[in-house]
């Protein structure tokens, strides 16, 4: 059980550091997700206590924003933009292609845990549509072929890293 709460020191430190920041809940959630990769549902009470707000309020914020996740993502997160500008350049087909290549639905994670596929609504790279974001790095003018190559590399490197572990 101790291992499953390995995130506890991180949460406590972040809450202590940021509790005095005005309107600090979003910065706290970002910091926790940045370090742990997600916001453990069991961490909600500690966050609520630290900010002197209800657990419902914390949960409400986590569930409101698309960025926050309550369970770990794959080792890589691929966001495919499906806003209008990218749609004008074939984004819907690109997203379908990604689903097919990875064998997952949108918001899904591959069985090997290597890649999570998410939609995103505008990356601000609209002059170079279609755009995707891989682990916070934006790539423009993405063809289906290029996407395949990138996904292959991600899955390959992820499984290699997994084997090394």
């Amino acid at each position: 059980m101790a291992d499953t709460r390995a995130w506890e020191p991180v949460v406590n430190r972040v809450v202590t550091e940021l509790r005095a920041v005005p309107g600090g809940l979003l910065p706290i959630l970002h910091a926790i997700q940045h370090e742990i990769g997600y916001i453990p549902p069991d961490a909600v009470p500690a966050i609520a206590d630290g900010l002197n707000i209800s657990r419902a309020e914390v949960h409400g914020v986590i569930s409101f924003y698309h960025d926050f996740r309550s369970e770990p993502a794959g080792r890589h997160v691929v966001h495919v933009c499906r806003a209008e500008s990218c749609q004008a350049m074939g984004a819907e087909a690109l997203l379908a292609h990604a689903c097919e290549r990875l064998g997952v639905e949108v918001h899904g994670t591959t069985p090997d845990g290597s890649v999570t596929l998410e939609p995103i609504y505008c990356l601000g790279n609209c002059a170079l549509s279609p755009a995707i974001m891989v682990d916070h790095r934006v790539h423009g003018r993405i063809s289906q072929q290029r996407l395949s190559t990138m996904l292959e590399a991600l899955q390959g490197s992820a499984s290699a890293a997994g084997a090394a572990r």
Partner: protein, 525 residues
């Protein structure tokens, strides 16, 4: 030492600018050539990115689009001396796309090192704030009123009038908040400023703080812009070190401190009251107005909220005067608008022009037509809540009032082009779907209406598929009724304007909705 510019702009990075910069540094080291790499903003000619510039005694020489693989060849050809190469573009400022623009707000973007305060000041930076510090707050506000500057975020409310309200409001603490939640598809001018000239935004916000009596500012930045976050924080650090931010701005004794806060992927937080809720650490739920944020905004205090481009236009107004700025433009749309060409367009990028330029000129003279080479069938202006405009209306001038008269909006100046393969019924469905995904859920017309809208559009698409015009017509009638309810009954622009792309798609492209021949004939098809 030869100075070489490779953009740090995330658009340039998205097509390999980082690898190009590394390759140039490595090749220079290998050849033992003294090269100073400057990571500038983008000139906004995205089809030519990575756009590399070399500084020569005679000015700059540009090359692009440069790939990592071209670098050795460029050195071999003598690009450090500005020698010709197949990627030569000549002097950047003489490229017609740039030469024909009227760059005011973007005057430094691509030219300076974005995070160098010294470079900023050497190119006219902080002259506006220096001037403002010699003026009375009411006179600063009056200069902004006189400039005719209207909010560039989309709503086009006069910036100076907003500031006047905040100045006149009573509060022990006031705030300046920059709405940098640029979520509209087809827009990226805020991002380009934040990555390419963040100090002009910081200067504009500081002037606003001095003008309205606010000592604290926040930039609410969308999380999709990690590179802008880095640039803004570097620029804030630099400005603070030089005394342009902090307890005594420019030695004036007046305090102004600035902090960047990152959103979490919610389109609705671009609505100003939802943004305030988010800044306060809550769900991004839209607030009822009144009270206006100018009276009771962030943490209940008087708050001046403006878009990135609005703030970034202010230093120039103070530096060169309100009259200089208002000379540009047409009608009640004064000054320039940084227009963004996006979607299926050959030459996508940033075009800053005085108001009054036509869509046709933008799409063909600047944009070069569609990227696919097929005819442009429709454009959407002003983001996901903006109307679709057919080719027959491409002579419309970019002017807030001219667009409003056509039930369209200029918004934040983003233009998304679609070629003739676009399915306008699918786009109408997407507009409703997007509204359903991003609705904050506070008001029923938006929360429920958008979901019903998706369902009705699914029925339209099914009727079209099964060639049942009567069923399509029935569903389209219901769709229009639903749109009326959303427009009239929604609390904010999301539910209140999401119907505009839907209705404009039906109005201008009825042939995509599987309607009966009689209905199409009535629409002139």
């Amino acid at each position: 030492m030869t100075r070489v510019y490779v953009p740090r702009d995330s658009g340039a990075l998205s097509v390999g600018a980082e690898a190009v910069a590394r390759a140039i540094a490595a090749e220079a080291a290998l050849r033992n050539l003294p090269v100073e790499l400057v990571r500038n903003g983008s000139r906004g000619l995205y089809w030519l990115e990575p756009f590399v510039e070399v500084e020569l005694p005679s000015g700059r020489a540009a090359y692009g689009p440069v790939t990592e693989a071209d670098v050795t060849d460029l050195f071999g050809a003598g690009f450090l001396q500005g020698k010709p190469h197949r990627l030569s573009l000549g002097k950047p400022e003489e490229i017609p796309y740039l030469a024909k623009q009227e760059r005011l707000t973007f005057e430094r973007v691509g030219i300076t090192d974005p995070v160098s305060v010294a470079d900023y000041e050497a190119h006219g930076g902080y002259r506006g704030l220096r001037r403002a510090l010699t003026m009375q707050p009411a006179d600063i506000v009056e200069a902004v009123v006189q400039s005719g500057l209207r909010g560039r975020g989309g709503a086009a409310f006069p910036t100076g009038i907003k500031w006047k309200t905040v100045l006149g409001a009573v509060g022990d603490q006031k705030y300046v908040v920059c709405n940098a939640d640029e979520g509209d598809s087809g827009t990226f001018s805020d991002r380009m400023i934040m990555e390419g000239d963040p100090l002009v935004l910081i200067e504009g916000m500081t002037i606003a703080g001095i003008a309205v009596g606010a000592t604290r500012g926040y930039i609410y930045l969308r999380s999709e812009y990690p590179d802008a976050l880095v640039a803004l924080n570097q620029a804030i650090k630099g400005a603070t070190a030089e005394g342009w931010l902090g307890r005594s701005v420019g030695g004036s004794g007046k305090a102004f401190e600035l902090e960047v806060r990152v959103g979490a992927g919610a389109y609705i937080c671009g609505e100003e009251t939802a943004m305030l809720e988010s800044l306060e650490g809550k769900r991004g739920m839209v607030r009822f107005k009144p009270p206006l944020p100018a009276i009771a905004g962030l943490f209940g205090k008087p708050t001046a909220i403006n878009n990135v481009i609005s703030f970034a236009s202010v230093p120039l107004v103070l530096d060169r005067g309100a009259d200089f700025y208002r000379e540009y433009g047409m009608g009640r749309s004064r000054g320039t608008l940084p227009i963004q060409l996006a979607g299926n367009i050959k030459h996508g990028g940033l075009v800053e022009k005085a108001f009054g330029v036509s869509l046709r000129e933008l799409l063909y003279d600047y944009g070069g037509g569609s990227h696919s080479g097929r005819p442009i069938r429709a454009v959407q202006v002003g983001g996901p809540l903006g109307a679709f405009i057919p080719e027959s209306q491409f002579d419309l001038p970019l002017d807030y009032e001219a667009f409003a008269a056509k039930n369209a909006m200029v918004g934040h100046g983003g233009i998304v082009a679609f070629d003739d393969t676009v399915d306008m019924a699918a786009m109408a469905r997407y507009a409703m779907e997007f509204c359903a995904i991003e609705s904050c859920g506070k008001c029923t017309p938006c929360r429920i209406g958008s979901t019903r809208g998706v369902e009705v559009m699914d029925r339209v698409l099914a009727a079209r598929q099964s060639k049942d015009p009567a069923a399509a017509e029935e569903s389209v009638a219901l769709l229009k009724d639903l749109c009326d309810t959303m427009i009239a009954g929604s609390l904010c622009a999301l539910g209140g304007m999401a119907p505009f792309p839907v209705l404009s798609a039906v109005q201008h492209f009825p042939e995509d909705f599987g309607l009966p021949t009689a209905a199409l004939a009535a629409a002139g098809r």
